[in-house]
Structure formats: C-alpha cells, structure tokens
Subunit: 338 residues, 2 copies
C-alpha cells in the first residue's frame, strides 16, 4: 500500500490468488480433524522445503493469538475466514508479505501474490513460478475437462482470482460510483469493501475482482481484467478528479483540508471515520494540495490504526472507546511530525 506501483494514485494494490487442492485427499470441508491435520502436515513439508523455504515464515494458526490473527487479516495476508476459524490451519508467508500461502482455508492451498499499484502481469509470472515449483512435489486435483478442482464451484478451472484495490474518492464525491458498480456487474466482476467478501466499502476503497475462472486461460483473464476493467475505471476516476479540480475546487479542497484539521485535532476517532478522512488526505496528496504529508504517513496510519495493530502498538488490550482515543493520539502524533 505504498502507492509506488504503476497507476499508484488510484490502484492501491493488486492481488492474484490461486486455489489448489491436493489429489487423494478429501476437500477441507469434507475432511475430519485428523484428515485436516494430515493435509496440513503434508503440504507444510512440501512448501517449507527447497527453493521456496528460504524466504518463508511458517505460521500455525493454532499457535498464535486472536490478536495476531487479526493483525494478519488487517495486513491482507490471510482471509477473515482463516483468522476466525479453528483447527489445523496455517499460512506460509514471505518476509515482505507479498507472497502468502494459506493452508486449509476453503481449499487445501491458496496461493496469493500481492503488489502495490497495477502489477498483475508481474504477479502472475511470480505466482505461476511458485505454482510450478509446488507442482514438482504436490499433485493437485485436476480434471482434463474442468481444470483445477476447487471446494467452491465458482473457482473451478484456473482457480484464479485477480483483484485490485482501487481508491475512487472523486467518483464517490460526484455520485458516480454506482456506474462503476453497474459496469462491474455487467462484466461479471465482484466489487467489495476493504476486507473482501461481505465487507462494506470504507475510505473510498473498492476491491474489484473477476468471477469467471473457467473457459479462459489465466493470461486472458488477467489481460481482459486490466484492459476492460482496471484501465477504464482508472481513467474514469482521473476524469472525475480533473472535473472536481476544475469545477468544484473549493468544495474539494474544503473536504480535503477539513479532513486534515479533524485528523490533526480529534481526541477520539473511530476506525471508520479515520479511513474516511484519510481517503481525502490521500486524494489531497495525489492532487498536490497537501504537500507536508507523505503518502507513506497516510499508509502507516491506515495500517497501524486498525484495531489489532493499535492494540499491539499500545501493548495492551483496548476496548472500543480506548482504541478511539489511542487512534486519535497516534494520528495527531504522526501528522505533527511533518
């Protein structure tokens, strides 16, 4: 989320995920506890070996605290589902967190590669290499007719999910975000909030992802997703920003500077309000209206003021009220350093 990638003013991050299952084992949801543990140990031994092993950090979900699981969710390294579930589950994570392999989430194995900006093609090269390496030691459930077999039929085929996190404050301000929703629906894409399925958009961040995994190659899916979805929406948001700068400059700058004023002065602030205000600050920096704050600070605040990170920073468990105070203090401190 450091906005340094291509189209980073609008495409915050991109992700490719592959769903895989091991041939000869029951799907996770059909397996008993013993079988689940067996799959976990089987995959772990293959993943934490050879070339892959040296950059990976293996985390057994049963050995970490609820707070740590929540922190991994806030970092988009594991899914909410994995964080909140029990049993024989794990994640193997590269040190920079750009590669994550969840074991025993919905499928036996879910590979994900995250990058900042629009780097889906690069992500695919990388995830394909990891997938190929793993295929050297793991036999994936595969049908010549359908492709990779997955726990949920919506993933069958390539097992690929391609997604981008887009920052669309100008379309939101102009009341045009519904058009993006309609276009996404027409193109069989899912549009979601910050933390994936079932979450509400916050901070004007929208996660767009493909729904169709069958009947096309991975390269076709990625290429169409970029050309037909990401690039047009980016262009649309850019036009909206230009329109706001030209026609509604005062309204726009009022919102941006008010957000700065509130973040710099509040004594209590909810996570939702902080995200909402940080969205305007991010826009202000991208439009060069705010010059004394770096995107790096916005991103740090964004990540570190989420509930679990905030409690980890404070070194203690905080109730919602205490978190709102700690969050406000952290934000004031970070913004006043500039």
């Amino acid at each position: 989320m450091d906005d340094s990638g291509p189209l980073g003013d609008i495409v915050i991050s991109c992700r490719i995920r592959l769903a895989r299952n091991i041939a000869g084992f029951q799907f996770f949801s059909h397996a008993d506890a013993e079988q689940q543990a067996e799959v976990l140990s089987f995959i772990r031994d293959k993943v934490m070996a050879g070339e892959l092993k040296k950059d990976l950090w293996y985390i057994d979900m049963s050995e970490i605290s609820a707070l740590e699981r929540e922190m991994l969710t806030e970092r988009h390294v594991i899914s909410k589902q994995l964080a909140q579930s029990h049993g024989a589950r794990a994640v193997a994570l590269s040190h920079d967190e750009s590669l994550a392999m969840m074991i025993n989430e919905e499928d036996h194995l879910r590979l994900q590669v995250l990058a900042s900006g629009l780097q889906l093609r690069e992500n695919y090269v990388r995830i394909n290499r990891v997938d190929t390496l793993l295929e050297g030691s793991l036999e994936f459930a595969f049908s010549p007719d359908y492709g990779y077999l997955t726990a949920c039929p919506t993933n069958v085929g390539t097992g690929i999910r391609v997604s981008v996190m887009l920052h669309l404050p100008a379309l939101k301000l102009l009341g045009q975000i519904d058009k993006v929703f309609r276009a996404a629906k027409d193109m069989h894409l899912a549009i979601r909030g910050l933390y994936g399925e079932g979450t509400e958009p916050a901070g004007d961040l929208y996660q767009l992802s493909n729904q169709i995994t069958l009947g096309k190659t991975e390269e076709q899916i990625i290429d169409e997703f970029i050309r037909r979805t990401v690039e047009p929406v980016v262009e649309y948001e850019r036009l909206a920003r230009k329109k706001l700068l030209k026609d509604r400059f005062t309204v726009l700058s009022d919102k941006i500077y008010r957000a700065m004023g509130l973040l710099g002065h509040a004594r209590m602030i909810s996570s939702e309000e902080a995200m909402h205000l940080l969205s305007f600050v991010r826009l202000g920096i991208n439009l060069e209206l705010i010059k004394n704050i770096r995107l790096r600070d916005v991103n740090d605040i964004f990540l570190l003021t989420q509930p679990a990170h905030l409690q980890a920073l404070s070194g203690k468990s905080l109730d919602a009220g205490a978190r709102d105070e700690a969050r406000a203090e952290f934000i004031r401190d970070r913004l006043s350093r500039n």
Copy 2:
C-alpha cells in the same frame, strides 16, 4: 461581547430596554406617513440636544444602505424590525454603541443600554438617567393606573425589558437545555435565539428576558430576574461544565479541539456552523483547554463573519457561497495569527 464583564464566562451580555411614546401623538402603527415624520423630527430635536447630544451619533434609516442596516442588526444596536422597515425611522447611538435609542420602531422611542457580562443594575442606573433627562423635554404617554402606555400591551407599565445573552454549551451537551426552557416558561420568561424574537438559538447562545412589565417596580423586576433566573442558570451551567470536565473529559475535549481543527482548515463555512464551532472554542478558552486563542479573537470572528460585516470587510456584495469562502478565509487568517 468581550466577556470582560461579571460572570462573563457565561453571561455574554445584558441589556435593558425601555419603551416610551410621546403624549399627544398617534402610536406609530396608527399614524400616517406625515405624522410619523413629525414624531421623528420632534424626538430627534430633543434627543440630539443638551447633555445627551455630545456622545450621540444620529442615523436616519432612510439614509443608510440595506447593508449598513443589517450591520447595525448584527451589532445588536437596532432590531431586525427596524432594519427591515421603511419610512421615518432613526437610531441615535452612543459612540461605544452601549446606548441606543430607536425612534419609530414599534413605539415612538425605545431606549436600550447594552453591557458585557451581568451588569443589569448598572445598566438600569444609566438608562434611568437617560430616561429622566429625556423626560425634561419630552412628555411621555403615561396613565396613573397603568404606567407608561405602549403600542403593544405586553409592554405597558414600566415599559421595561430586561435580558441577558447566556452561553450554555455544557447544558446543551448534557441534554439539559430543555430544563432551562421549562424553568423559563414557569417563570414567565422568554427564551430566544441570538437575534431576538422568532430566531433560533445558534452557537449555544440563549437570550432570556422578562415578559412581565406591570405590577412591579423596575428595580424589583431586575432584582428578581437576576436572583431567580440569571444566577441559578449560571450556576447550573457551571455545574454542567464541571461534570463534563470530570466525567466526560475526552468527549468534551474532542469536541473542542475538533472545532479548532475545522475552523483552522475549512475552505467554506456557513455562518451557522461557524457559530456552532466558535461556541466550543469559547468554552475551551473558558475551561483553559485552549490557551493560544484569546476570547477577543473569538468575539471578533463572531461579529465580523456575520453576512453584512463580512461583505463590508470584503468591500463588495457576496452571494451565500462566496460568503462561506470569505468567512472560512477570515477565520483561518485570524486563528493563524496566534
């Protein structure tokens, strides 16, 4: 409104007004234009003479612009009614604006003395002296049975209206302002907004005034108003402030500092929002949470960002949108000087 008077942390200002009519002339509403002009010229000659004259500035309403009339209203020197009406009307005003005599408002003559803080007894001494001086040259309509005769029967008798402008943000925050309203009603007092009859409260400012003008002496009315109304409400607001400081310090300081943040950063701000935010800043200064802003600045902003003053400062007519921008700029500038 400089908060320098007694109980100035809560009693912003106090006012005594006397309603008088000249014997032998029709009440204003029953007079034709010629008779109205005759009364005006008759009173002007008496007022602008002798001891009173040297400190007075005579303003003929028909000779000033709509903007100037509005400015006088914003300064609480004339009523909205006088500002918005036409015909033979005037105000004679002391140079510090603490004494004003409206000619041909509802009554032939309305004297008012304004002071900061709670100085009603001092105000009465002063207005009584002016009243006595005028009685040397003007014969007021007076009935031995009813006292001074006035255009509206609610003013008959003493013709006195005693009022205070109270700043009650803590009672408002605690949701206890309704109790003040109920108590005021029980005691036959009127409670109104910043600009008198028919206006909504803004900036947590409430104007309390007596309704009964008959059957008591002026001194009794004033004494009861102070002891039975002003002092208890002041005490009540002080208790509310203590309670907030003790039990809800974070909520309170959050509101106060957010107000500072918004006033210091907004690019557009309505008059209503500015008053609302300045109310918190005033409270913050009185509670010593804000130390780098003076009450004088708050009062200046309060007065000078009202629509007419703002246009006078800008040297041009501004529509509502342009006023909101000019207001925000003025406030940012004034606050950043500290």
